[in-house]
Symmetry: C2
Subunit: 340 residues, 2 copies
């Protein structure tokens, strides 16, 4: 039975993975919107665009020519935020504290077809993307320099994506970034205490409740986490504990691809638009340790709130206080589940 | 002398107030922008708009009529995210953890003049805004229910502001939100160890360096913090330690108003546009304790990066990893200082 207080009154929910809170104000969804509307383009895109620097055979800004790739194509980011060539240094001068950070940034084109997003791609083609992620995680992680590999996608202009060609990024680096560090700490302390996976135990409770699950197959669950921040934030997690995506076997790759296909298709249906989001995979550091406390998962942070043009702004209170949401995780799950 | 490594190579900087890191990639500012451009309106606004629900004498959505106010006007938010009437409850069911949250949300109109922003207002009129903040902090904080008062402003459509009439908000609540909790912890542990103010000691070091300071008067410093996240993020802080804005004396109120006037005017000059931002005051909880470890400060988080239409997107890597910036704090300070 649903806890009705959680549907009716302001409250905060605890994120077991980060140790932080989100403020939920269910009654607030009624307020009228007079603010900025986002532009939507429902223009049909071409399968090839001669001006796109990600399309097969085209020349990039630095003069390199893309191969005539036929499925997935990975290359080093021409404007990488992290580089291998920077010197090592430390600043430790009173209250000024800084450290050099080395890394490798890559771009991964999901398909040569300029017009497609993951939602439009066949499950078999999504499998190829997953296999490329595995290859990159393995190769980058094997480097002495790299202790963490962040795989992510920014989709849609409203998410700062500067090119509609279906692609994601991989930023890999020497140290753990903030968000990963938090999840590392929370999972480790739970594992040390309970000798089992924090996320795994949570998923078991979600399976019993059946309130926030949108889709499941043998190996994966797609759900709106109890502590979701973004209006239609979702998580894909493997049912059995795996610390990173190299542990996924062939059958599971297919099931993972199916999960990605389901959630992205449902998103597109929700507001009848190519749904913008940032997605990312949080998984074990590549520091050479076993990291048995890690249970990898993929999250989607989509900004849209009411329709294709009105997004949730994480500003003001959210920047200075804590994230805040209006519709509850359960309401979001109900709406998405209906569209599966 | 400037540390040139910090201007040339990727590194991360430590935020002493939150305990978190920001990734800085100085070489990356050169990448071309092919993404979304924000709309700018340089349309001259009227001093009174009959359709504005914040203008004096107008009727709000809930039927209430605004008084014919002549300086500052404060009222309870018609669509408050926090309410006093919600019941107290706790959810503590395995890994589901939630708590009711009570609070009071207010709106504060800075001026009856619909066309003005803080940057356009006289220093004397900004003083009235500060005095209203003091009154609200005092009154709200006096309530048994309220242990923290978050004063903030969202300015500009790109910051989710739904009405251009100059106004800010105050969300007050029973518990400390995430960001405040972090700053509380960091300041307390420093204070316990050193018996002095973390931010106060930092400001002394900044005064010696003179690398990131944009403006100062007897009582206040305006600077780009060493760990700034947003391209032109700035902080206003009192030189002497004060835990909250009630400690500001009359002379200091004027000096604080001058500091606000300077930074907002400089912002508008930078890209020759009414500069969008979220600003907020972090100060001591109103929990009845002395909170001697607190040193209040006001921060500005403006999204614009290159010009009036290109903003920095905090997406993808930033959401899953950590905040990332391209121009360094020192470069930003140099540019703003030149415009004072
Ligand atoms: O209250 P407003 O101005 O309608 O709304 C704005 O500020 C709030 C507080 O920062 C945010 O929660 C909203 O997302 C934003 O659009
Ligand atoms: O690398 P891109 O696609 O040019 O840039 C985009 O993704 C990056 C990584 O999330 C962000 O730092 C940028 O702000 C965003 O515009």
């Amino acid at each position: 039975m649903k806890n009705t207080n959680l549907q009716d009154y302001s409250h905060k929910r605890y994120n077991i993975l980060t140790g932080e809170w989100v403020l939920v104000s269910p009654h607030r969804a009624k307020r009228p919107w007079q603010g900025q509307n986002e532009a939507v383009s429902n223009k049909k895109r071409l399968t090839y665009d001669e001006k796109c620097y990600l399309c097969a055979g085209n020349t990039r800004i630095n003069g390199e020519v893309n191969p005539k790739y036929t499925d997935v194509f990975v290359f080093t980011n021409d404007f990488a935020a992290l580089q291998t060539t920077s010197p090592k240094f430390t600043v430790n001068e009173g209250l000024f504290k800084a450290e050099s950070e080395q890394g490798i940034c890559k771009v991964i084109c999901f398909s040569p077809d300029h017009s497609k997003s993951l939602a439009d791609m066949a499950v078999n083609d999504i499998e190829k993307v997953i296999k490329a992620w595995q290859k990159e995680y393995k190769e980058l992680g094997a480097s002495e320099l790299i202790n963490y590999v962040q795989i992510f996608e920014n989709k849609g202009a409203v998410m700062g994506c500067s090119n509609p060609h279906p692609h994601g990024q991989i930023w890999s680096q020497s140290t753990l970034p903030n968000e990963v560090d938090k999840k590392n700490t929370q999972q480790l302390s739970y594992y040390n205490k309970n000798n089992s996976s924090l996320l795994g135990d949570y998923l078991k409770q979600e399976l019993k409740k059946q309130e926030r699950i949108i889709f499941e197959n043998d190996s994966f669950i797609v759900l709106i986490p109890f502590w979701a921040v973004w209006p239609f934030e979702a998580m894909i997690a493997p049912k059995r504990q795996m610390s990173n995506i190299l542990d996924i076997n062939n059958h599971e790759v297919l099931q993972y691809a199916e999960a990605i296909s389901k959630i992205t298709k449902v998103y597109d249906k929700l507001f009848n638009t190519s749904f913008p989001y940032s997605s990312g995979i949080h998984q074990a550091p590549t520091d050479g340790n076993k990291n048995k406390h890690w249970h990898w998962h993929m999250s989607f942070y989509p900004p849209l709130l009411r329709n294709a043009t009105v997004k949730k702004f994480m500003v003001g209170y959210e920047m200075f206080g804590s994230p805040q949401r209006d519709i509850t995780a359960e309401q979001a799950a109900d709406r998405l589940r209906d569209l599966i």
